[in-house]
């Protein structure tokens, strides 16, 4: 059964443009924060709000999947509200770890392109490698600082901007192609290549 997200993908690019050009015109990032620690949730929420991000904080991987509508049940949130630009998850959580959550997100067609950042208080190289190889955007050592969040926001916004430019170009090309019906639809723009080596260097621990 197709989820709302899969339907949306097939309707590229118009539907995407609509949800990007939100009525308020704001380019506010919406971050889903996942952490079982109440203290850490409060802190990350504050860090994100100060960085002008909209935050949804949940206390488990299960709840995160529920929120995203990936738990097999009907999503409680309307799809338009569900534009999540970044997922930040703690690694060590009871039940579903951040790694397991990362895998589930990357397996979903609706959210696999949403950057996922793993946070952990433990600097374990094999853990870091595993997460990056599974497609994590970054691995941040706790405690997370404001500088971490600000840097992350810049990275995500740049990627988002780049993606939007590609989509607008794609749409323009589509319109041009409408005049010559004999041509087959163009393939979507290529995703930026994943470079594991480059991503590994993105382990950040901004200690002074």
């Amino acid at each position: 059964m197709a989820t709302a997200g899969e339907v949306l993908r097939r309707n590229l690019p118009e539907k995407v443009e609509v949800s990007d050009g939100s009525p308020s015109g704001s380019r506010e990032l919406h971050v889903l924060a996942v952490d079982d620690s109440h203290v850490d949730r409060k802190v990350i929420e504050r860090l994100l709000k100060i960085s002008s991000c909209k935050v949804t904080a949940v206390d488990s991987g299960t709840r995160a999947l529920q929120y995203l509508g990936l738990d097999g049940e009907k999503s409680s949130v309307g799809f338009d509200d569900l534009k999540v630009n970044l997922i930040m998850t703690d690694y060590s959580m009871p039940g579903m770890t951040g790694y397991e959550l990362l895998k589930k997100i990357k397996e979903s067609s609706a959210f696999r392109e949403v950057p996922v950042v793993i946070m952990s208080s433990e600097n374990i190289l094999t853990r870091i490698d595993r997460c990056l190889e599974e497609g994590a955007e970054e691995f941040i050592l706790k405690p997370v600082k404001l500088s971490d969040v600000k840097r992350l926001k810049n990275v995500i916004m740049k990627e988002d901007e780049k993606e939007n430019v590609e989509k607008r170009t794609f749409k323009r090309k589509l319109r041009d192609d409408e005049d010559s019906p004999s041509t087959s639809p163009p393939s979507p723009p290529p995703l930026s290549p994943v470079c594991p080596a480059a991503k590994r260097s993105r382990l950040h621990n901004t200690k002074d």
Binding site: S37, H38, V39, L146
Partner: protein
């Protein structure tokens, strides 16, 4: 002036938290997240910390009474305690958590029991000082705290 005296007392108290190694840089990070709209953020985080960690400490106390000790469970509790302690910048408590975990690793029951006693001491000492500090900050009013984003 009454207010200046209070401000100075607050500054002295705050400095001693650092000088005595009770809190570290993370505490400053939290202070920097305060502003006019959120003037008591650090106190709120601290309150949350003490609420959550007291439960953890109780669980660890209970677990330490069982024989044989379940080092895996103890380590797991301590990992959580360490996590929130470091999030609030509780330097000494954090160090005691590490010590405890080392004893878990080598399976030393005596080491665990001893280091937990020490941990509770540090934990209690920090709680007392921090509560007194925030009480003073509240007394001084919403105007100027020792360190904020204003």
């Amino acid at each position: 002036m009454e207010r200046n005296h209070l401000q100075r007392q607050i500054a002295v108290m705050r400095q001693s938290l650092f000088d005595q190694g009770l809190v570290d840089e993370q505490f400053v990070q939290l202070e920097e997240l305060q502003d006019d709209a959120n003037p008591n953020f650090v106190e709120e985080v601290a309150t949350l910390y003490y609420r959550d960690s007291s439960r953890l400490i109780h669980n660890i106390d209970q677990a330490l009474m069982k024989r044989p000790l379940d080092f895996h469970k103890l380590d797991s509790y301590m990992h959580q305690l360490k996590g929130s302690s470091s999030s609030i910048g509780a330097k000494k408590v954090n160090a005691e958590c590490n010590q405890f975990r080392e004893y878990c690793q080598i399976g030393s029951a005596e080491g665990c029991v001893r280091s937990f006693q020490q941990l509770k001491k540090e934990y209690g000492a920090l709680k007392k000082k921090i509560e007194a500090y925030f009480q003073m900050v509240r007394q001084a009013g919403p105007d100027k705290t020792a360190c904020s984003r204003n």
